[in-house]
């Protein structure tokens, strides 16, 4: 089998007739005595999407994106330029622009050679070709039929199917050259229901780094259709959500967005190097209750957030962030690791060749504890049971974070009673996990739909957790 690096070279360098000697030349131009590190990031990306609405597949699109980003780093300074043409003169020009960050001349000679091969966490495949067009359309139609067959109150089903084939090649100033082929598929279902003039919505979906066959296996796509419909119907019955601070039980899986917002962003290396995070300088301190262990893990096979190699050519890793309640580590890219005197943790990620890498999460989750989920719910006299969420946001400096429930229930006297409307939950990152009093034994990872935004750049991520009881969280309902 051809290695990802060979595929990347054949896709990105061969058509442009770029030889290793050309890359050496670009690097030589880029490096001066004051440049600590530099890299070239070649990328070719193909995206295909199909959308069903009103029971017909009315839209499809195909997107071609390719280019090369050139970066030079001197101390804390970064110079960056990119070109959407992969061509030697453009590379040299971008290199001249990027190295302007550092004053002074003097060249060092670099010899680009291949990097060591690393274990892969997903296949080097093209997911666009994993099903033919007729099969893709049939898949969307089956979702529509499944959702509508659940209940006559379903009035609208919007289903989409997206496949991305991303090929990257990173050439570093240490002479290394690493390639990765990253398949990514995603399916989303959105359902509108209507009863006596009242309308509600529900959503579901999933995906990962594999082919589209993923959605046919275990009839996953049909399960998304049923989940979205069920959620919309539950919301039709929902009463006003409570307002105020109360115990909250978070269901397993996607509610792990709590970890992503409350602590994940605050543990990214850049904020901690600059001292702007509420977690800055707190390594070794207790930031969570005993029994809470949180990891960021790019090595999970076929997961949406997984990375065989990050966007700086560093192998994907499993990094313990919090161990039994104690803050253990930050997530690093090369720049911030070097400036903090540590190693990259394989978290250097960028949206594309036209963006600079930063420390970003991969799959972030909490390890399971030993409580039965039923016992966790039974322990609450009055509180909220939230099982599904939309997005979230965090102010990393003050530590305040929010995440919005899209499916939630009231707990009264240890029993789940009735559904309540979606509400935003707000808390303080550095102390929310100290209020976790019970950790379930039912760890789940999300279905594979997460996208994280930071400084205008989006990257795919995963989250997960077991059922958790948080003794105090503020619930932003209207019922007071």
């Amino acid at each position: 089998m051809t290695s990802p690096c060979e595929i990347a070279r054949a896709t990105l360098l061969t058509p442009a007739n770029l030889q290793e000697s050309d890359l050496n030349r670009v690097m030589d131009h880029l490096l001066s005595t004051q440049v600590d590190a530099a890299d070239l990031y070649f990328q070719s990306s193909r995206l295909e999407s199909w959308v069903l609405e009103d029971s017909i597949v009315k839209e499809g699109s195909y997107n071609i994106e390719q280019g090369v980003g050139v970066r030079a780093i001197s101390g804390e300074k970064t110079g960056f330029a990119y070109s959407d043409e992969i061509e030697l003169n453009r590379l040299l020009e971008a290199g001249r622009t990027a190295r302007a960050i550092a004053v002074g001349g003097g060249n060092s000679r670099i010899k680009v050679s291949g990097g060591a091969s690393v274990p892969a966490y997903y296949p080097s495949m093209n997911p666009l070709q994993s099903l033919n067009e007729v099969e893709k359309i049939e898949l969307l139609r089956s979702i529509d039929a499944e959702a509508r067959s659940q209940d006559p109150r379903v009035t609208q089903v919007i289903a989409s199917l997206v496949a991305v084939h991303d090929i990257i090649l990173v050439v570093g100033s240490d002479g290394s050259m690493h390639g990765d082929v990253r398949p990514l598929v995603r399916c989303n279902v959105h359902v509108i229901v209507e009863q006596n003039g009242k309308r509600e919505q529900g959503s579901s979906g999933g995906g990962g780094r594999s082919g589209l066959q993923f959605f046919l296996d275990h009839q996953r796509a049909l399960a998304y259709a049923r989940t979205a419909t069920r959620q919309a119907l539950v919301n039709l019955e929902a009463r006003d959500a409570p307002a105020g601070t109360m115990p909250v039980v978070l269901g397993p899986g996607w509610p792990g967005v709590l970890l992503h917002e409350a602590i994940g962003h605050g543990l990214e290396g850049d904020f901690n190097r600059k001292g702007t995070s509420a977690f800055s300088g707190r390594l070794g301190e207790r930031v969570a209750a005993k029994g809470c262990t949180v990891v960021d893990d790019g090595t999970l096979p076929n997961r949406r957030g997984s990375l065989t190699l990050d966007d700086e050519g560093v192998p994907g890793q499993r990094t313990v962030l919090i161990e039994n309640g104690i803050l253990k580590g930050y997530m690093q890219d090369r720049l911030n690791a070097r400036l903090m005197g540590t190693q990259s943790t394989g978290n250097g990620r960028r949206e594309s060749y036209a963006h600079l890498p930063m420390p970003r999460m991969t799959n972030t989750y909490m390890l399971p504890g030993d409580h039965e989920p039923e016992a966790i719910i039974a322990s609450v006299a009055k509180g909220l049971y939230a099982v599904n969420f939309g997005g979230g946001q965090v102010d990393i400096t003050s530590g305040k974070f929010v995440f919005s429930a899209s499916e939630a229930y009231l707990i009264e006297n240890g029993k789940v009673t009735h559904p309540v409307k979606g509400a935003t939950l707000i808390g303080n990152g550095p102390d929310v996990l100290t209020k976790v009093s019970m950790v379930g034994n039912d760890l789940q990872l999300d279905e594979g739909v997460g996208t994280c935004g930071k400084e205008g750049q989006s990257v795919p991520v995963g989250v997960g957790q077991p059922t958790l009881r948080v003794d105090e969280l503020t619930v932003g309902g209207t019922n007071y």
Binding site: I56, K58, E59, G60, S61, Y62, N63, I64, E65, Q66, E76, K77, T78, G79, F80, A81, Y82, S83, D84, E85, A94, A100, E133, I137, T155, I192, E194, R199, E200, Q201, A241, A243, G244, T245, K274, T276, A278, A354, L356, G390, G391, Q393, V394, T397, S398, K400, V402, S404, K421, G422, A423, T424, L425, I426, G427, T474, G476, G477, T478, Y480
Partner: protein, 444 residues
């Protein structure tokens, strides 16, 4: 300038060629849009340059129709082979999509017949060193304000220039250049054991209309200092003022709720409200897409339809939806030249400035920042994280954080008490601050 004209001619030729290629491949109609931008982005932090980014982005997108079947493709690669592949990919997709009687180009008689100069193009030939100096000056003025400003995320200057070209098989082809510049600053303050961060920015079509760097920095510093010592408040029901910068998001929700795609999908809380009161009588909201130097101005929409000024709300009554040709056909209506969104939304200001609004409220919450996305446009249910200030007797008492505010947008709109004359003008939506009827605040 000559370069720009030449570049525009080149892009128009590309569009022309793509449309020709689509026709050759059997498409009955086609449309294509190209954008091409370049710019400079510089950040300085703690008095030193941190990043210098030279940006250069281009993209071309084509949609082909075979009768009422549609296919779309796009590329950032402008080589002849890539362009041919792109048209072919669009045509291939159209083989598999289903006939949809509503899909197609906008009607030919609606195409813009002239393309007025909206004064959008004022490129800034600033050198990197000069840009760095402005950032340093901006950040310095924030940091020197007070010893409690202890850290910084830096100041950034962004300047961009670009071209938009659109054409379709009705024979319409048009383009125009535009520029955009901004300067922003974010600093961190510390008091006791806790930190706060806030920012300020200025943005304009022409560099001359940007606020002075020192003023931007000072405002960022003042905003950060004002947040120090923030605390929670108890759960309660109280009147709320959305400061102009965050009131923008309420108008954005209005835009979402009256946009064609939400309406034909029956997923809007303002369904069937045309001609009905959705705000109190004093409210007038206009779209002015041809505002000279406007942040979102455009002579034609994404389908080549000539844009025009219109009232969306007059006397509190909803006057118009925001439609492109597809959603218009779905609803049995006419496009409102809003393919691609709304362009310069302006709500008429009242007589009071912010302190007048605070006096009018007496006691309540002034919201200056919102977090999260807790808006359900299907039902209007609204619940978002907030930070701001507690107001008593029209005066700021203390900063507030880690609270939520909740209600329903339909009731929030009809309960609007007053719009301030402290107009936020930096984006595509212009509004003063909003004094609202009481909302639920969740806290301690």
């Amino acid at each position: 300038m000559n370069d720009t004209i030449e570049r525009q001619e080149y892009l128009q030729q590309l569009v022309h060629d793509l449309l020709g290629e689509a026709k050759k491949l059997g498409a009955s109609a086609a449309e294509a849009g190209v954008s091409s931008d370049s710019g400079l982005s510089v950040t300085a932090r703690l008095g030193e340059v941190e990043t210098i980014e030279h940006t250069r982005d281009q993209g071309i997108g084509i949609t082909v129709y075979f009768g009422h079947r549609k296919g779309t493709a796009s590329t950032s690669d402008f080589s002849p082979e890539a362009l041919r592949d792109t048209v072919r990919a669009a045509c291939n997709i159209a083989k598999f999509t289903t006939d949809d009687p509503c899909s197609g180009l906008a009607d030919p008689e609606l195409m813009a017949t002239e393309i007025p100069d909206l004064d959008l193009f004022h490129p800034w030939d600033i050198e990197v060193d000069e840009a760095v100096a402005l950032c340093v000056e901006c950040e310095h003025s924030a940091r020197e304000l007070d010893p409690r400003i202890t850290n910084s995320e830096g100041a950034s200057l962004n300047t961009q220039r670009g071209l938009q070209v659109y054409g379709n098989s009705h024979g319409f082809i048009g383009g125009y250049p535009s520029s955009h510049h901004s300067l922003s600053c974010a600093v961190v303050g510390q008091q006791g054991g806790s930190m706060q961060r806030d920012y300020w920015y200025t943005s304009a079509r022409t560099p001359g209309e940007l606020e002075a760097p020192a003023a931007v920095g000072r405002r960022a510093g003042e905003r950060t200092l004002a947040r120090l010592g923030a605390r929670r408040i108890g759960t309660r029901v109280a009147p709320v003022i959305f400061q102009a910068e965050v009131a923008v998001s309420l108008l954005r929700s209005l835009v979402g709720a009256i946009s064609g795609s939400a309406l034909y999908r029956h997923s809007s809380f303002l369904l069937d409200q045309l001609g009905q009161p959705v705000f109190p009588e004093f409210v007038r909201i206009q779209e002015n897409p041809r505002l000279p130097r406007g942040q979102a101005s455009a002579p034609f929409d994404n389908e080549g339809v000539a844009t025009y000024a219109k009232d969306l709300v007059t006397g509190g009554i909803l006057q118009s939806y925001l439609l492109g040709s597809y959603s218009a056909r779905k609803l049995g209506m006419q496009t409102t030249a809003n393919a691609g969104g709304v362009r310069n939304l302006i709500i008429e200001s009242g007589n009071l400035d912010l302190s007048g609004l605070l006096d009018a409220m007496g006691e309540g919450l002034l919201v200056t920042e919102m977090m999260g996305s807790g808006t359900n446009l299907v039902t209007g249910d609204y619940s978002r994280g907030a930070a701001g200030f507690w107001i008593k007797g029209g005066e700021i008492q203390h900063p507030v954080e880690e609270i939520t505010i909740a209600g329903n947008l339909k009731a929030m709109f009809t309960g609007l008490q007053s719009v301030g004359r402290d107009e936020e003008r930096r984006g595509s939506i212009r509004t003063g601050s909003w004094l609202m009827a009481p909302m639920t605040i969740a806290g301690e």
